[in-house]
């Protein structure tokens, strides 16, 4: 094919790139945040009541299996939005995040050792305080791991929205493709990649920082 | 049969696992390597089948340097049993046992037939062949592991703490079985354990290793108990050495004296008359001992009443005069224990059928011990 490498395009379109990046972050990260907030109580409920778990976990599995293009396309049908509406991307991303994180939160809370919970009760913690002071902190490493996967996936999945006209860096990819502009495409791809990996590293770092006991363990082992 | 010549194993970080080991394992015997953690016993064992290669020194198998053999081929001629059996979870028990015969080229039918023989040999029901390892208990899995190691009839068997992961009752059973197998098969067995009692029980010769990989003593169990080479060995061997050493001395020289017996169903009056020294043994129709009866108990019973279970005092181990080949029955230890544990101060001696043969006194045992020392039977 006819490929152009117009490097000057980069210099001339910095604000376009910045705008697309901002849009991309809005499309990708807001749903992840919402998903996280929703997953915590859902995951807690699933960890506490087997009946809830029996329903939520398979449901999460089913939702996670549905390809993103399908969900993105169906949101207007379900919610009545227009085709070019950021919600069409954000809602599926939130659903995927919840589907992923509910499982993480559930597993993490279930993995808290029984003796630790018994000790907390014996010391006199009330259930809410116990959750906040003991269970949640111990669950953090697994939740952060899930969050990292959710965030990185979201950054990459958002670009699929460009197929039906929803912006973000994905629209630079499609535009570059239509105009044979390889530079535009490479810039968009590189930005998605780099930002995703940076956020991933940041989450990893923050996760380690707020759980000093995991660091101590790593330092002591050979 | 297996010779270690100045064998050393040193790791890159400086740890010395085995330090200049010189040892000769004799054919047809069970040689036990025993010692605390980090003494190099397992490393030494694993050097025999080249799972680990020595840093220096030579190991000879039947006079041939094992370094000249291709390791997989060498290993097919050596049985290998490890702590958690390591059975292949994805294959049936039968196919697990058939592994090495298949490896050396036997047909599937021959290999499976041989595997069936071996399952019987180790005391497992033949139907177990169709099961998968996950369906077996730990002890059963360990037996399959032994069967698998014996499948190709190797002259040498290496066993690395094979019975350490099962509970004591199962362990005892497996140990008895090993001794029974060995009496039939006469393999050259090298057995690693951290348990000195297991070593003494199973070994024809025992090698005690100390931390740092040095050999502290290599001797028969009775020598080990009677003459430990240094403080380390004597403390490793543990307490009650003298008493345990009695287990290796036969009690055939200990005289059996008369023992008052009373049949069940006898009247209290007749029983009172039969007492000797205030005690008598109550026996059943086959003359097997059921318990003791004493003058004290009979004093509260009417002369005409028959003896009942309520008057019996149990207690005391039995001293088997014709001990079987596997245990220490028939030993001085057994005789002494029966005398010491009896409520009457007199040990009950029984014959092979379990019938009362007479009584054993503690002094008689100690007299026999003194005689054994005099005649040189006890290592001095």
């Amino acid at each position: 094919m006819n490929v152009d490498w117009p490097w000057p395009w980069l210099g001339r379109n910095l604000d376009k790139i910045a705008e697309a990046t901002g849009e991309h972050l809005f499309l990708a990260l807001l749903p992840v945040l919402v998903g996280l907030v929703v997953s915590l109580p859902l995951g807690w409920a699933a960890s506490r009541w087997p009946a809830v778990r029996l329903v939520l976990v398979p449901l999460a599995g089913v939702l996670y299996t549905i390809p993103s293009l399908a969900l993105i396309t169906l949101v207007p049908l379900i919610m009545g939005t227009k085709i070019i509406d950021p919600l069409n991307v954000q809602v599926p991303l939130a659903i995927y995040t919840i589907a992923l994180l509910v499982r993480s939160v559930t597993d993490a809370l279930l993995a808290v050792p029984g003796d630790v919970l018994a000790a907390a009760n014996a010391v006199g913690f009330r259930p809410t305080k116990r959750f906040v002071a003991v269970e949640l902190p111990l669950a953090i490493p697994v939740i952060v791991a899930g969050l990292r996967v959710a965030t990185v996936s979201a950054m990459s999945l958002t670009s699929v929205g460009a197929l039906i006209g929803i912006g973000g860096l994905g629209s630079l990819i499609t535009e570059g493709f239509k105009r044979n502009n390889a530079v535009e495409m490479v810039v968009a791809i590189a930005l998605i990649l780099v930002i995703a990996l940076v956020i991933d590293a940041l989450l990893l770092f923050v996760g380690r920082m707020i759980t000093p006991w995991t660091r101590a363990r790593q330092g002591a082992s050979k | 049969m297996i010779e270690f010549q100045a064998v050393t194993k040193k790791y890159p970080d400086g740890t010395v696992a085995v330090d200049s080991l010189d040892l000769a394992v004799e054919a047809g015997q069970i040689t036990v390597f025993v010692g605390p953690s980090g003494c190099g016993k397992t490393t030494s064992l694993r050097m025999i089948n080249r799972m680990i290669d020595p840093t220096s020194g030579t190991i000879l198998l039947d006079g041939k340097d094992i370094r000249e053999s291709d390791p997989p081929l060498l290993r097919r001629g050596i049985g290998y049993v490890i702590q958690h059996a390591g059975l292949f979870p994805h294959r049936t028990v039968l196919d697990n046992v058939a592994t090495v015969p298949l490896l050396i080229g036997k047909s599937r039918r021959e290999a499976r037939a041989r595997a069936t023989e071996l399952l019987e040999l180790v005391g497992l029901p033949v139907e177990f062949g169709k099961r998968y390892p996950a369906q077996l208990s730990g002890g059963q899995q360990q037996r399959v592991g032994v069967a698998r190691a014996l499948a190709a009839d190797p002259p040498v068997l290496l066993m690395d703490e094979p019975f350490s992961a099962v509970d004591p009752i199962v362990r005892d059973d497996l140990q008895q079985q090993l001794l029974r197998l060995q009496s039939e098969l006469d393999k050259t067995i090298v057995f690693v354990t951290h348990d000195i009692d297991e070593a003494i029980k199973l070994g024809d010769r025992v090698a005690v290793f100390r931390v740092g990989g040095r050999l502290a003593q290599f001797a028969t169990p009775s020598e080990l108990l009677a003459k430990p080479a240094d403080d380390f060995v004597s403390s490793f061997v543990g307490r009650d050495r003298g008493y345990r050493a009695l287990g290796f001395l036969t009690a055939s020289g200990v005289p059996i004296g008369p023992l008052a017996t009373v049949r069940t169903g006898t009247s209290a009056g007749a029983a009172r008359a039969a007492l000797s020294g205030g005690w008598a043994v109550v026996v059943d129709e086959s003359n097997r001992p059921l318990g003791w009866v004493s003058a004290d108990q009979l004093s509260s019973v009417d002369t005409a009443d028959t003896l009942g279970a309520g008057q019996l005092v149990s207690g005391g181990s039995l001293y088997e005069v014709d001990g079987d080949s596997s245990g220490t029955a028939g030993s001085l230890r057994n005789a002494l224990d029966s005398a010491l544990s009896s409520p009457a101060g007199l040990g009950i001696a029984v014959d092979g059928a379990g019938a009362v043969a007479g009584g054993v006194q503690a002094d008689a045992v100690l007299a026999a011990l003194a005689e054994a020392r005099r005649s040189g039977q006890v290592p001095a």
Binding site: P67, V186, A188 | H90, R91, A134
Partner: protein, 245 residues
């Protein structure tokens, strides 16, 4: 909703080379081809890395790195740089399918009980036999898990192939979008296509779940495959690499 369903159940749309069954077959064809090629590369690679313990950075690095790579970008760029055709599309799909299979195979091999491997070696099996006769059969549950994750991922990503003028179920979404909002072949077609995609994905997942259960040696049936993967990698379940499309 009605218009979408009526489009879906319109008899015309079920026949011919642009009909729903044809597109389903195309889609499954891309998927099968991709997973086959990816498996041929990733299973041996993962097995060797798992058995020897060397090159583990490759497994972790690929898993993380490729998840961040937008498949739309990879696909379109490759097509732009080469040509419009099956090859560049399959190459990009294969690249994205490698990580779950690699991770699954690696995890499966690492997860084999070390004493089983020790016993095999001690009995005199050669390293290659140990790998093929002992480690791989025991790693099968996790390898199948990886293949399953890869298949679902490819099914999802293959929807994009339509954007670069190939077939597959994405065709309905792209064509519907191009037809315009008002047209009867506009949104109704998109929605219908989306429904078919979703149903196909769920059906394939269900079938693979059954295949995974059946294909494993009865001796291994009690292994909790996904939970163990999660434990090894300290990643959340449901799948090994995470959502990509």
């Amino acid at each position: 909703m009605n218009s979408a369903l009526s489009w879906l159940f319109d008899g015309d749309h079920w026949s011919g080379p642009t009909g729903i069954p044809a597109r389903i077959l195309e889609h499954l064809g891309y998927t099968a081809l991709t997973v086959l090629i990816a498996a041929v590369i990733a299973v041996p690679l993962g097995a060797i890395i798992g058995h020897t313990g060397r090159g583990t950075f490759l497994v972790a690095g690929l898993s993380n790195g490729l998840r961040a790579l937008p498949e739309l970008g990879l696909l379109t760029l490759l097509v732009l740089l080469t040509y419009v055709g099956l090859l560049p599309v399959v190459i990009s799909l294969v690249v994205l399918a490698l990580p779950p299979i690699l991770a699954g195979t690696y995890a499966g091999i690492r997860n084999v009980d070390p004493s089983v491997v020790d016993a095999a070696r001690g009995m005199g099996m050669r390293e290659s036999s140990i790998l093929t006769q002992v480690e791989l059969p025991n790693a099968l549950p996790l390898i199948l898990g990886g293949l399953r994750a890869a298949t679902l991922q490819v099914i999802a990503t293959a929807t994009i192939a339509a954007y670069v003028s190939l077939g597959g179920l994405g065709r309905f979404v792209i064509d519907g979008n191009n037809a315009g909002a008002g047209s009867p072949n506009g949104y109704p077609q998109m929605a219908a296509g989306a429904i078919v995609i979703a149903v196909l994905a769920l059906v394939v997942e269900g079938v693979l779940e059954i295949v995974q259960r059946v294909a494993v040696s009865p001796g291994l049936r009690n292994v909790a495959t996904r939970k163990r993967t999660a434990r090894i990698w300290r990643k959340p379940t449901p799948d090994l690499v995470g959502k990509s499309t």
